[in-house]
Symmetry: C2
Subunit: 348 residues, 2 copies
């Protein structure tokens, strides 16, 4: 079968790889219906992080179950499923407490020697624990519906997690720093699921501003740094926002996040930062500030997110502003790298 | 009248100062019944922070109202009152939202040119907003009761705030790093007010361990560093504690706090750190950790704390293991500086 492979910085190819097979009784093999490229896929592409040459790529997918191991009890061939971008064993204390990202057996598609999602099919360990069945089967969804479902595997859940980590609750004012797909989904999560009253998106890109407003942002701030601080304070009676999602991951974006959060408030950050910002505790003290940082435990959110997509009340698929074929994966990386696309979907 | 004055590092004296007077219509003058020495009073004493020569000292007191300004409506001469260690205006957005520490007019007794609590009397600005009347009058309380009330002005409220910031709730496991008066009160707050199920105190001092157990600590860990981490993990099925109060303020204690918190948990820190530790965000990411740091908005907690003391269900006064006279204030500083006393009460 065909799959995307990382060669070295700036070089992704699509090549022949062995067909996936059931190796453990708890495995499933899933044929990919849609996958996509994540901002974090760009780190090795940009040589920020190291990755093994010819390693598999992609960690977001929806697909149909093709084969299951003998110990898989909740899935059957033909089931239409979505996977969280990282998996857990489903049985340990962490998995049972909704934090599969801390499972000792946790891994991510395309990480280590695991199959990646940017391919025709992949082997899924602990299939019962990780795959969530989407009702109606793949035939029940049109192209837009498929992208809404695909978004739940990472970017929608990660954006929502950012808003949860920031402490967004009913009626609060939230700021989202960053207009990438995660930031935009944080807006959608804050508005639709967590019922924030006011959501201010920091974005200087007209296309992304428009999508942010479509997702429910009540205000857009199109400046940076000190100007952004002033603009947010103007929009919040001089107090700042109770909840701030930091969805960029640079020292500058952290500075802005701490500038616009109100005293007593909280900054939530998700996604691996480009650099590793440090936070000084002293400035937090007089302001009673909180900071939460965490990789999204997507599996915790998936059933609810899928239910909302199926019910027609959640549509994050608009973050995919370009769809290419699997064979065009190298072009997808170029488009993402140049910020010509917010997020690129791939059709095998 | 007599009051303690800071001269320079290691030098505190008691000297004559002008009697306090009502200067603003919102002022009250309060005669001190009990005050005390705080760990933070030692910073200038130890030359960690600068302080003006001959500046007044002390920010914790209970007392009786002696005189009120024309605009004071809720207090009368003779009222027995407790004050939060820092005051707010009572009218601004921050004060109305329970965060008087962020009030633009906030100040603390003994800070700047304000009267200090380590004296016979002091002027209290915004008296209506800050002073909380203690029912029954001063005659209703014995020595122990007075110390329980005095503790609410800072150390009990600050310890409780630490537990709140750490996210202690009904049934959780909490760790308190630090056996100073604040750490001990964090144990008491976590157990008595927030209903933690298991509270592990890190302490190597037998006297403080005993007081920690008296305050409800279920376990004591008497080692530091890597050994403390192992001991806490052993006590928590290998997971760590959901909530950790950092009540020391050094880089080492922060490291321990982050070592013993479980993934998905939170560290709460109160009190001005000796140094200013920085936190790296990257290690928080994979573990989904939260950090909250904040000076206690004592006024928010005071009515409830006073009610509990009066009802006999909260007795933090045991942290005062030495009582001296106001004239003996220099000895009180020596005892605190040498860690010969946990906390010293002063009788004018």
């Amino acid at each position: 079968m065909r799959a995307a492979l990382y060669l070295d910085a700036g070089h992704v190819v699509v090549d022949d790889v062995p067909d996936p097979t059931v190796q453990q009784p708890t495995d499933a093999v899933v044929r990919v219906v849609r996958s996509c490229v994540c901002g974090s896929d760009l780190w090795a592409y940009r040589d920020t992080f190291k990755r093994e040459p010819r390693s598999r790529l992609g960690h977001e997918f929806i697909g149909t179950v093709e084969e299951v191991g003998s110990a898989v009890s909740t899935l059957r061939p033909g089931d239409f499923v979505v996977a969280p971008f990282s998996y857990g064993c489903g049985a340990c204390w962490w998995c049972r407490h909704g934090l599969p990202t801390s499972c000792p057996q946790s891994g991510t598609w395309g990480g280590g020697d695991h199959d990646g999602a940017q391919g025709e099919a992949l082997r899924v360990p602990f299939a019962d624990a990780n795959l969530v069945v989407i009702p109606g089967g793949v035939e029940a969804y049109d192209d837009a519906g498929l992208l809404d479902l695909l978004a739940t595997s990472d970017v929608m859940a990660t954006g929502l997690h950012g808003a949860v980590m920031a402490g967004v609750t009913d009626g609060v004012t939230a700021v989202v720093v960053g207009d990438g797909a995660v930031g935009l989904c944080a807006v959608l999560g804050a508005v639709t699921l967590l019922k924030a009253e006011q959501v201010i998106l920091l974005s200087r890109n007209p296309t992304r501003q428009a999508l942010g407003r479509q997702f429910g942002a009540t205000d857009v701030v199109a400046v940076r740094g000190e100007e952004a601080k002033e603009a947010v304070l103007d929009l919040t009676n001089g107090h700042g926002a109770e909840a701030v999602v930091e969805a960029v991951g640079t020292p500058d974006s952290w500075t802005t996040a701490l500038d616009v959060v109100c005293d007593g408030g909280q900054v939530g950050a998700v996604g691996v930062p480009h650099t590793a910002p440090t936070i000084e505790t002293m400035p937090l003290l007089s302001r009673n500030l909180g900071v939460r940082v965490g990789i999204a435990p997507v599996r915790r959110y998936l059933p609810d997110l899928v239910e909302r997509v199926v019910a027609g009340s959640l549509a994050a698929g608009a973050v995919f502003d370009l769809t290419l074929t699997l064979e065009q994966t190298p072009e997808a990386y170029v488009a993402m790298d140049r910020r010509e696309a917010i997020k690129v979907a791939l059709v095998p």
